[in-house]
């Protein structure tokens, strides 16, 4: 053939055929379009805000809120600032999410294992649970618990009670509150000592097994330490713990810890709904461990408990943990449904009441989204780090 093929680039203008040029031009065009759109939106927003006489900036955070909140983990009153409102809402969101994650995990693991049970009835019931609760919208479930179940509870005078200590009625669930009397520090200190001792024992036991091949039931000894030491300290200090029981005073209960119905409904719905998804994840995780692994472990002479603890669970967890984390994130985001039943979470008191009172939609919504986004991204990064750590090292 005649001569080398024509070369691209090399200082010659080759028109739009040059991919590098096209790439730069395309990106410049894209950037220009995004900037133009942002400028247009910004211009309109500023004009609209001015026309409606709405202030801008974050000055409103130090203004007085002027409304009450039915549940607050920190001191809050109507004279507190909007900044305080934000904090109260955030803490309430974190409270319901943390409790929800705890309950959903327990329930989800139970049902996921039940789904794989050799007992036909248990497996079918677990299956029915999963199929029923994950196919009904969460908001409907929240409404059901709040409006249909908790609203049907008796009035305070006819409360359902458990041993005159726990009461359940229309106004909420009342639990006794522990009162720590002087001397309780001793129990806490004993618990701390027990934790450290059990940890050291575990490390020493592992080293000993590696060196001599002889194991010790370090788990049981550690457990005995954890329960025994604080109990002994508790008795020595003269049982420094009292209970403040809720008691009927007038039309309502006073004292103790109160779980408001909004919190209960949201907690029930969130944990029952999320547990259905967690159960599926757990089931898939356990099934992902090849049968040969269990058999090989049995052939090595490991006992049933050891097979589970040393072979099956570590491998199943590798499959379970990433989707489990994303379910936790979903639960956190879904806790924002609180606003539909009036549980004072971040979206309700901040993106709801505060927004209505100040009208500063842009700032309020941006702050609310930023909170969820920060938590999500932080957990994603932690997840990626964990994933990289436990990833299969293939040789």
């Amino acid at each position: 053939m005649n001569g080398p093929p024509p070369r691209r680039g090399a200082g010659r203008w080759t028109g739009w055929g040059d991919p590098r040029l096209r790439a730069v031009a395309f990106q410049a065009l894209f950037l220009a379009a995004v900037l133009a759109l942002a400028g247009y939106v910004l211009h309109n927003t500023l004009a609209n805000l001015e026309a409606r006489g709405i202030a801008t900036g974050f000055g409103f955070l130090s203004e007085t809120a002027g409304f009450g909140i039915i549940q607050s983990l920190i001191d809050y009153s109507e004279t507190s600032s909007f900044g305080r409102t934000f904090l109260v809402g955030l803490l309430n969101t974190l409270l319901v999410s943390a409790l929800g994650i705890l309950l959903a995990t327990l329930l989800g693991f139970l049902i996921g294992v039940g789904r794989l049970s050799g007992n036909w009835l248990i497996a079918r019931l677990a299956d029915a649970y999963i199929e029923i609760f994950r196919n009904i919208p969460l908001l409907l479930q929240v409404f059901f618990w709040y409006f249909a179940v908790l609203r049907a509870l008796p009035r305070p005078r006819e409360s359902l009670s458990l041993g005159e200590a726990v009461f359940l009625n229309l106004r909420g669930l009342y639990l006794p509150r522990p009162l720590f009397e002087p001397g309780f520090e001793l129990v806490v200190a004993a618990l701390g000592v027990a934790v450290v001792a059990a940890g050291l024992l575990g490390v020493w036991g592992r080293r000993r097994r590696a060196r001599t091949g002889r194991g010790l039931p370090t788990g049981w000894i550690g457990l005995a330490l954890l329960i025994g030491l604080p109990t002994i300290a508790f008795l020595l200090a003269g049982a420094p713990l009292g209970w403040e029981r809720p008691a009927l005073a007038g039309f309502n209960f006073r004292g103790g810890i109160t779980l408001i119905p909004e919190l209960m409904a949201l907690l029930l719905a969130l944990s029952i709904y999320t547990a259905a998804f967690i159960a599926e994840i757990v089931r898939a995780g356990i099934l992902s461990v090849a049968k040969g692994q269990t058999e090989a472990a049995a052939a090595l002479g490991l006992r049933h408990g050891q097979i589970l603890r040393l072979v099956v669970i570590p491998q199943a967890l590798r499959v379970i943990i990433p989707p489990l984390t994303s379910q936790y994130l979903n639960l956190l985001k879904n806790s924002s449904l609180a606003t539909a039943i009036g549980y004072p979470d971040l979206v309700n008191v901040f993106a709801g009441t505060t927004l209505n009172q100040t009208g500063q939609a842009v700032e309020v919504i941006a702050m609310t989204m930023a909170v969820y986004l920060t938590i999500s991204l932080a957990i994603s990064f932690a997840m990626n780090w964990y994933n990289a750590r436990i990833a299969l090292t293939e040789r």
Binding site: V34, T45, N119, L139, L140, S336, V362, T368, Y372
Partner: protein
């Protein structure tokens, strides 16, 4: 060889039969037996009263709460409100338009999945033409159809409109975002990653709040956006991010050789993606798309928080009727059952698709 080993051994006893099955599946150990008995007792406590309430003691026919006398479920409440639950406040005389609209959708989907339909232009015409026809039918304003403003839309009809529009518009956006996330152009990639991660990191409610209170601020004062339209914009933007992640899964599953072979053929970027990669990738992620649709279908209930009356919203609103106070359980059971049938049906369908696609490979 000794006599003993040569002797014929009787065949093992047959290991089947109901008793054998019971023993193995329900009573194999003491713990198993305890579990079975506990489960049976639990069922005994819950199921008979439930059946009693929902069927035996229930009232089915009537026109007012006076007809609910048996003490069980009052399905009369649902029956008298059924029209509203399905169509919202859509005028009764125009409801045929909704029926026709959804009937046509089923027909179009059936036509598209029919193997005989090989002509591309016809498929494209159906796909592009249907939204126009549906818009005219539902909203009206042309061909002698009266305009039905969107604040009269509601019930199951609104739920379906939101879910279907959401998924149909989110899919192309999601494909673009997924391609952008895997693009070699750093600026495009950064923009797509930011978009996807931001939307996926926030709850849908905040997106809906944003759509309902912030969106009007973004446009010049003379532009007024319909409430339903604003909700749709919010849902589509939100859903596109999730769709992008589903599609990305498919793109990553296509072997590198496919990309390289397409490049070797001298195809340009859009030809490579449009003719080689996307047809394979989208086929792989059909089950994922169906699952996204199920999630979206459930999430549409959130629009009631910004004041639209979807199925759940309209059921919830019916409880406030002073003539029908105290029948919320019936309402929730009805709405829950409708949602459940749709979601469960679709999830089974998606599982079947998954198996079929898996076999084809």
């Amino acid at each position: 060889m000794s006599d003993a080993t040569a002797r014929a051994i009787a065949p093992p006893r047959r290991r089947s039969g109901p008793l054998r099955w019971l023993r193995r599946n329900l009573f194999s150990s003491p713990l198993d037996t305890a579990l079975t008995l506990a489960a049976l007792y639990g069922l005994y406590l819950t199921l008979p009263p439930l059946v009693q309430w929902a069927f035996i003691d229930a009232d089915w026919v009537g026109t007012s709460r006076a007809d609910c006398t048996s003490g069980g479920a009052c399905w009369v409440f649902i029956a008298t409100r059924l029209e509203q639950f399905l169509y919202g406040f859509y005028p009764a005389a125009e409801q045929w338009r909704v029926n026709l609209g959804f009937g046509l959708l089923v027909a179009v989907l059936a036509a598209l999945s029919w193997r005989g339909l090989r002509r591309r232009w016809l498929a494209a015409a159906l796909l592009l033409g249907y939204p126009v026809v549906a818009y005219l039918l539902f909203y009206g304003g042309a061909l002698g159809l009266a305009v039905v403003p969107t604040h009269q839309w509601g019930g199951l009809m609104l739920t379906l409109v939101l879910a279907i529009v959401g998924i149909v518009l989110a899919l192309p956006l999601g494909v673009l975002l997924a391609l952008g996330r895997r693009s070699e152009l750093p600026l495009i990639r950064a923009a797509c990653i930011t978009y996807i991660e931001v939307w996926r990191g926030v709850p849908l409610i905040t997106v809906l709040f944003m759509a309902s209170v912030m969106l009007p601020l973004f446009f010049p004062e003379e532009v007024t956006l319909d409430k339903l339209l604003r909700a749709m914009i919010g849902i589509v933007m939100f859903q596109a991010a999730y769709m992008a992640e589903v599609v990305r899964g498919g793109l990553q599953a296509i072997p590198k050789g496919q990309y390289e072979a397409a490049e070797a053929l001298g195809l340009g970027y859009w030809q490579r993606m449009g003719l080689i990669v996307l047809p394979q990738a989208l086929r792989l992620v059909i089950p994922g798309i169906v699952n996204t649709f199920i999630a979206l279908f459930k999430d549409t209930t959130l629009v009631l928080i910004i004041g639209l009356f979807d199925l759940l919203g309209i059921v919830q609103q019916a409880f406030a009727d002073p003539d029908w106070l105290g029948y919320s359980v019936e309402g929730y059971v009805f709405a829950g059952l409708l949602y459940w049938v749709f979601c469960f049906g679709m999830s089974r369908w998606s599982q079947r698709l998954e198996r079929r696609l898996g076999q084809g490979r």
